[in-house]
């Protein structure tokens, strides 16, 4: 009897340990980001960090305004969302309401492939295919620009939105559909005026997940959007995102422990704060708007 209870205890503790490892890793990452950033903010004031309009920590005239990098991230993410949300949502509605089973069996795996393409391939696609096409129609678009990176990033996150939205739409009970048709609504009206609002909390959660993915995307923007921090909302000029900056400095010869080195952590912390806030918003939205179906 004793050995059996003991064995169960061991297993329980082992599983607890596995769960703790995830928590400890997260705490470890936060600790590293915070401690290095704390050292950074002793030298550069938080006010300067948040309000300066230039980001040039590696050069002679040093400016530490994170807004330049944030605007790059926001610009590319914004364009990506503008591309992905309408497409993703429409695809989800189509797959759920309109398509035949055969079509669904073909389209769904193809969408999964879209999600599986390595982001660096997307990056080259943006640089070598999308940018020349944009320059053909709009000659003033630069070789590196936020627009082509944003468009390709949008294509990359379509599967995130379409897959999750489709699952949520599927979960809406049939009674709602039947009631809507019974009232004489068309398929289009049923889909977009009854089902999408009913599934809205899940759809918003999927959009926020897609935003988080886009904010953290590194390779596409590092290759196609440029490496010049620029506080602008103009999508035709080179910009630099937070992630691309971190890559640029990590691959260079910045000495460990120097102020330039600490800028990576300050930038990383900003990124982390953004994602954290987004996660919380998603949680709150889910809680508030989730409709419970009996």
């Amino acid at each position: 009897m004793f050995t059996r209870k003991f064995k169960e205890l061991i297993i329980e503790r082992a599983l607890l340990l596995s769960a703790l490892i995830t928590i400890l890793t997260t705490i470890g990452i936060i600790w590293v980001l915070l401690s290095e950033s704390f050292a950074f903010f002793k030298v550069v004031s938080l006010w300067d960090f948040l309000t300066d309009t230039e980001w040039t920590p590696l050069f002679t005239q040093k400016h530490y305004g994170i807004l330049s990098l944030v605007s790059g991230t926001v610009l590319t993410t914004g364009i990506a969302i503008l591309v992905a949300v309408p497409s993703g949502l429409t695809i989800a509605v189509y797959l759920n309401e309109y398509s035949t089973k055969k079509m669904r069996n073909i389209v769904k795996p193809l969408l999964e492939i879209l999600a599986a393409i390595p982001s660096i391939v997307y990056g080259f696609f943006a640089l070598i295919v999308i940018t020349p096409v944009l320059q053909y129609f709009f000659p003033e678009v630069s070789g590196f620009n936020a627009l082509s990176a944003g468009i390709v990033m949008g294509i990359m996150i379509i599967p995130f939105i379409s897959s999750l939205s489709e699952d949520v739409l599927n979960a809406v009970p049939n009674s709602l559909r039947e009631a809507s048709y019974g009232m004489g609504a068309t398929k289009f009206q049923t889909s977009f005026r009854v089902l999408v609002p009913a599934a809205s909390s899940g759809i918003i959660a999927s959009i926020i997940l897609a935003i988080s993915r886009a904010i953290g995307e590194t390779m596409i923007v590092a290759i196609a959007a440029g490496q010049q921090p620029n506080l602008t909302l103009n999508p035709t000029v080179p910009i630099e995102t937070i992630t691309a900056y971190i890559v640029q400095v990590s691959l260079g010869d910045v000495p460990q422990g120097s102020l330039e080195y600490k800028t990576i952590f300050a930038a990383g912390l900003t990124l982390f704060v953004f994602t954290f806030i987004l996660n919380n918003i998603s949680f709150w939205v889910n809680k508030k708007f989730k409709q419970q179906y009996v």
Binding site: F59, G143, Q227, Q228, L251, D253
Partner: protein
């Protein structure tokens, strides 16, 4: 069960047979086949030369793996000082701080100059207003105080269009960056910060090629390779505009942007036969390969003298 045993036996026997074939390369006359890995990193300017040498080397010694990184001269020296690479490509001489790091980690090295470069100032082919540029104008564009101030072509020279100036250049880890800032601005590492910075010159080529108002600088080889997509600008140092070429880079008339290019080799790595062989191969074949790549070879005597120095050190081991 019997069928299973049979298949397992087939698997084991075939893997033994295939496994035996590894070192089956026949010895050609008395050239010994070497194997191993040689790690090289550093300047993107030198990269085309080292890559050409490595490619030729692979023909005679296919078992030796040569990997070449492009972290910039500074990045390369960082790794060199930590004994992570055997050879560092450098487009500027080693700095005192880097020498100190090497001393601290007990790393001794050889340095060899392998070519001359005429740092090219490049614009987009659609740029029809800039045929030449003076050193003073380059300084005005690139010095630190130009940050956010000099943003249009018309501010550089009267008569140039009132269009935005898009700048491209190597990043702060690049030897080309150090050299250009020292030669043009007067202090190495001193420049404005609002330009597209990348240690990879191909990124700069891509950037200028796609931007009508682009202006940038990088090693001559990258211009030579992409002649159709770029336009080179003559640099005027007070004696008239001069284009970089084999002649002008060598005799120094293309001033102040002609410079020697180096490789630094870890002395202890030369104990490895493949590294020593590669180093000798480099100096023997540089005269022919450097010109092919687009840079300016040194005189034959300079190569031979360095080769003799290397051979002397190797025989002393």
């Amino acid at each position: 069960m019997k069928i299973q045993n049979y298949y397992i036996m087939v698997l084991v026997v075939s893997s033994i047979i295939l496994g035996c074939n590894n070192n089956g390369k026949t010895k050609e006359s008395n050239i010994e086949k070497l194997n191993g890995t040689i790690k090289i990193d550093g300047s993107s300017t030198i990269y085309p030369i080292t890559e050409a040498v490595a490619e030729e080397y692979r023909v005679s010694q296919p078992e030796v793996k040569v990997t070449i990184g492009v972290s910039g001269t500074g990045g390369g020296f960082k790794k060199f000082g930590r004994n992570e690479v055997e050879i560092c490509n450098a487009s500027r001489p080693i700095k005192q701080s880097e020498i100190d790091v090497c001393k601290e980690n007990k790393i001794e090295y050889f340095d060899f100059s392998v070519a001359y470069d005429g740092l090219a100032v490049i614009v987009n082919p659609q740029n029809d207003w800039a045929q030449n540029i003076t050193v003073a104008e380059l300084k005005m564009i690139w010095e630190p105080s130009a940050q956010q101030k000099i943003t249009k072509w018309s501010q550089v020279r009267k008569g140039w269009p009132d269009a935005p100036l898009h700048l491209f250049g190597p990043g702060t880890a690049s030897g080309t960056y150090d050299y250009f800032t020292e030669a043009i601005v007067g202090k190495a590492g001193s420049s404005r910060g609002d330009f597209t910075a990348s240690e990879d010159d191909n990124v700069l080529v891509q950037g200028i090629e796609g931007d009508k108002y682009g202006l940038g600088f990088f090693g001559l080889a990258y211009y030579e390779e992409n002649k159709a997509k770029l336009k080179i600008v003559a640099v005027d140092n007070g004696k008239g505009p001069i284009f970089p070429s084999a002649a002008t880079a060598k005799d120094g008339t293309y001033a102040p942007l002609s410079r020697p290019l180096f490789i630094y080799i870890n002395k202890e790595a030369l104990n490895k036969p493949e590294v020593a062989d590669f180093a000798k191969f480099y100096l023997e074949n540089a005269p022919s390969l450097v010109g092919e790549v687009g840079y300016v070879p040194l005189s034959t005597e300079e190569y031979t003298a360095q080769l003799e120095k290397l051979k002397a050190d190797l025989t002393h081991k």
